[in-house]
Symmetry: C2
Subunit: 537 residues, 2 copies
């Protein structure tokens, strides 16, 4: 009686949908927890399978009329689900590892994605006609290249361990973020590209625009993060309440993403760098309870968003409307899907091995190189395609989630087949392959299963983990480092860049924006509070 | 370039709106923080004023065409904003105080709201005609009674302190929750009531239905809370990750609300009791970091939702469409608003003082009674009208937020005037009046301002606060209490009821659902983890 009369019929339906969705999300979490030790399964695959099953049940109960309880919407995906995932990625990343491998990551994420895009586009142009698939224009082929260049490394990251294989983890992870940004930027650039009058001037402009987007998005993210650090440091929010600090951090992070979208920049890059800056400065300016809360609240939001996406994709896969149109040529859809899967395997191999070789060449002696086994793991990690591909495909080949054109319907179903196949088959094989490629990992992992959570998620461990990479409190160690800095400069330049960055950070950035060990202890400030609370505990 | 081309024009507009809204929310938090020590202002008033100013600016920049960046939607309010506020209320409430005053709270919240409803409805019927306001039917008058019975005690709760005036706080707070539920249930019951054939049978049925809704909503909330406790206790989520625990708690809480809506029960009551059960059982079954995270994450969500609502109401107040219709009779709108304000002051006085008298009568000697000064504070605390009134008024007098009927437009503008006036004028006067009525509070407050946050929000204090009301660990104190229990039974029956509840809780409930001191310490269980982590810290 309560709200049903308030809501119209369509809203009553949306209440039913929300209920089903929440139950399914809970089921995914519980089942994912129960299968945690399983050799083959992971959370993404579980969510995808549950989504598929639910779609099947709905399809049966509605007598084949409908399979989804929500229409796939790019807005929902790009505005609400993606930002928390990317922000959390930046917030939890090990900054030192990430920046040490920064060049390699950009090489893989940007140059690699471009190589992959070219190979998939050219492959599609030359192969699709032989398969008898007509009706696509040059713009469509380029879009296909961009759509299938967007990898989904969630599956692999769930299996890799940040502590055991730090280099590999930071490469796979960093590439994933830069790749997402690159493929979305690429996709949109193609949409506005004038394909009729293509000359070198336009291509140069295109590349310039691309670099501008990267730089300005990054700067915006850095700015938003620093602003939040400055506001919280100046105003001592903790003096009044932890809730205000947490709220300001959440709102500023989301604002950075939405501002980037407003200014036509890449929100993914912006919110990622905002997360990095927030964990380096802002996080150290808040109370102890705010630190624990933000750490876990961001991780939880990201976790729920990830499951939500896979559940959604699973459910959407059985959408009867598209299958009905595509079913007039089922062989065609399957042959196109397998062609695309072949192309993306080749396209990825075409840049992972050469670029790894380049990256190893440029590395000084003594720095860890990317072994062949690690190269294979990196190659494998980027074979899965996920929600970004689906969102882009929907944008290109449908109007508001619907399509009537046979060629478009086939492209949508092919995208879904590629996503399902790669996530299910490649996803299930990921754990065994990673264990085969990195056997030493296997051993340490088995030991750790019974004593500790696989990722550092219990109290205070995350706090320690995040900081153990940072050198001891600056005041005391600056003098110690100075004698050897000239020698370091001669042998390992990158190390020295890091050293100068730290000096700059300590001298200019931290006094203004706060950060570890740089919050002055004043009465009523967060630092004093947390010291005081520490005693309470 | 990135997403603009992906989004249609209307979605680009929505990105602008989201940006403005996030900036305004952040501004409210910062300004609210700066004004914290101010004698007159509070967060609600700040948000309302900022909302009004923004509405004004938008009105000017669009040359009087538009004042809102979002259309007020009941869905947004009832499905997304209200649940976190009410759930957090249940989660953070001091359970012992709440249940000790349970009868008084229900008396005020349910019976009091009914008395207020009758007085406002009858007053409107007799007075509106004299003001020359025609066009309303009996159903409309009853709806007006329900709309203006919904109080908004957020302002007062921001001023009262749970530790200094526990009785008063729990009464004002508890009444607020029960009142929200009662007025929404009442409002919907009226919508379905057959006013043509009103007889005693229908009224009896109405009352029976009302009681059924109360009981079943409460039971559903208890069930959802216990289920979450059981799942988390059985499966030891903490063994794998804190994120899963937090995610399950958030999802189960929201599920309880949506299930209640699905079953046509009162979601407000359900989610409130779910919050109480979760803080009594579930919260004790999770890791230490999950406890801190949930405590603050729920409070933050509730905090953001509250500010959002006031901002929204402030912006919506300047909606030009309604004012244009109502401006044909501006005197009428003002006279009707002031009549309603008078009625609600009388309607509230008509139950606060008699029911306080009744409640005092029934209390045994030695138990704290409600003093006259406290009665005045309670009366004052319920004079503000807020978002619930606006949401109900929109539902009754508009179709999808629009109206053309002059009488409906006048009712909407009158509701907005009442909400603005009561929140701004009464809201600003609340701090001085509470200090005048409870002078001893004033003193302790001044002292505490510089040393501690006004509400217990720093690390570990919330954990201590939540539990200090609970007697020491059951195992040790049960034997101590036993000798005196017969004596207690004779003199203070309610105390004894509480004692038997504790015995039942310790013997049956806690072993099954967990809870304070009742989690077995097994290897890898959350309890062991938190003990271990405590040592790390």
């Amino acid at each position: 009686m309560t709200l049903e009369s308030v809501f119209s019929a369509s809203d009553y339906q949306s209440i039913v949908s929300i209920n089903i969705f929440i139950v399914l999300l809970s089921a995914c979490i519980v089942i994912g927890h129960l299968l945690e030790e399983n050799r083959w399964m992971n959370e993404s695959v579980t969510a995808l399978v549950i989504g598929l099953c639910t779609g099947g049940v709905i399809l049966l109960t509605t007598q084949g009329k409908n399979s989804k309880i929500l229409v796939f919407s790019e807005d929902l995906f790009f505005i609400y689900l993606l930002p928390p995932i990317i922000f959390n990625a930046g917030f939890q990343v090990k900054k030192k590892q990430f920046f040490r491998n920064f060049m390699t990551i950009v090489l893989f994420g940007a140059v690699g994605t471009l190589i992959s895009f070219v190979i998939i586009s050219l492959g599609a142009i030359s192969l699709f006609q032989r398969l008898g698939f007509e009706g696509l224009e040059l713009g469509d082929f380029l879009a296909i290249g961009a759509i299938f260049s967007a990898t989904d490394s969630v599956c692999t990251l769930q299996v890799l361990n940040q502590d055991e294989t730090p280099l590999l983890y930071s490469l796979v992870f960093g590439e994933g973020v830069v790749n997402d940004a690159t493929s979305v930027v690429l996709f949109n650039a193609i949409q506005t590209l004038d394909l009729e009058h293509l000359d070198s001037m336009i291509i140069l402009k295109f590349i310039g625009n691309f670099l501008y987007l990267f730089a300005s998005s990054t700067l915006l993210g850095l700015f938003a993060g620093l602003l939040s650090a400055y506001i919280i440091k100046k105003l001592y929010f903790g003096r009044h309440s932890t809730d205000r600090e947490v709220a300001i951090m959440i709102l500023m992070a989301y604002l950075s993403y939405m501002l980037a979208e407003l200014l036509d920049l890449s929100g993914i890059l912006t919110v990622f760098f905002c997360g990095i800056v927030m964990s380096h400065y802002t996080w150290h300016n808040v109370t102890e309870s705010s630190r624990i809360t933000t750490k876990h609240a961001f991780a939880t939001m990201s976790f729920i968003a990830e499951i939500f996406i896979f559940l959604y994709v699973g459910m959407d896969a059985l959408d009867i409307e598209k299958w009905r149109i595509a079913s007039q040529s089922p062989v065609k859809a399957v042959s196109i899907s397998s062609t695309i899967i072949g192309l993306l395997m080749v396209g990825r191999a075409a840049f992972v091995f050469p670029l790894s070789y380049l990256s190893n060449l440029s590395k000084k002696a003594g720095r860890p190189k990317i072994t062949f086994r690690e190269q294979v793991t990196i190659w494998w990690a980027g074979l899965m395609r996920g929600a970004v591909s689906i969102a882009l495909a929907y944008n290109k080949f449908t109007i508001w989630g619907h399509t009537q054109l046979p060629s478009n319907a086939i492209m949508i179903t092919s995208t879904i087949i590629v996503v399902l196949f790669s996530t299910l088959v490649f996803g299930i094989l990921t754990k065994p392959i990673v264990r085969l490629m990195l056997p030493k990992r296997h051993l340490t992992r088995e030991v750790s299963i019974n004593s500790d959570p696989p990722s550092p998620k219990s109290i205070f461990t995350p706090l320690l983990n995040n900081d153990q990479e940072v050198e001891p409190v600056p005041d005391t160690n600056q003098n110690m480092l100075r004698p050897s800095s000239l020698c370091m400069f001669l042998t390992i330049p990158t190390r020295s860049v890091h050293h100068y960055w730290r000096k700059f950070d300590d001298a200019f950035m931290r006094p203004v924006f706060g950060g570890r060990g740089f919050m002055p202890i004043v009465p009523g400030s967060p630092t004093e509070r947390s010291v005081h609370d520490g005693e309470l505990a």
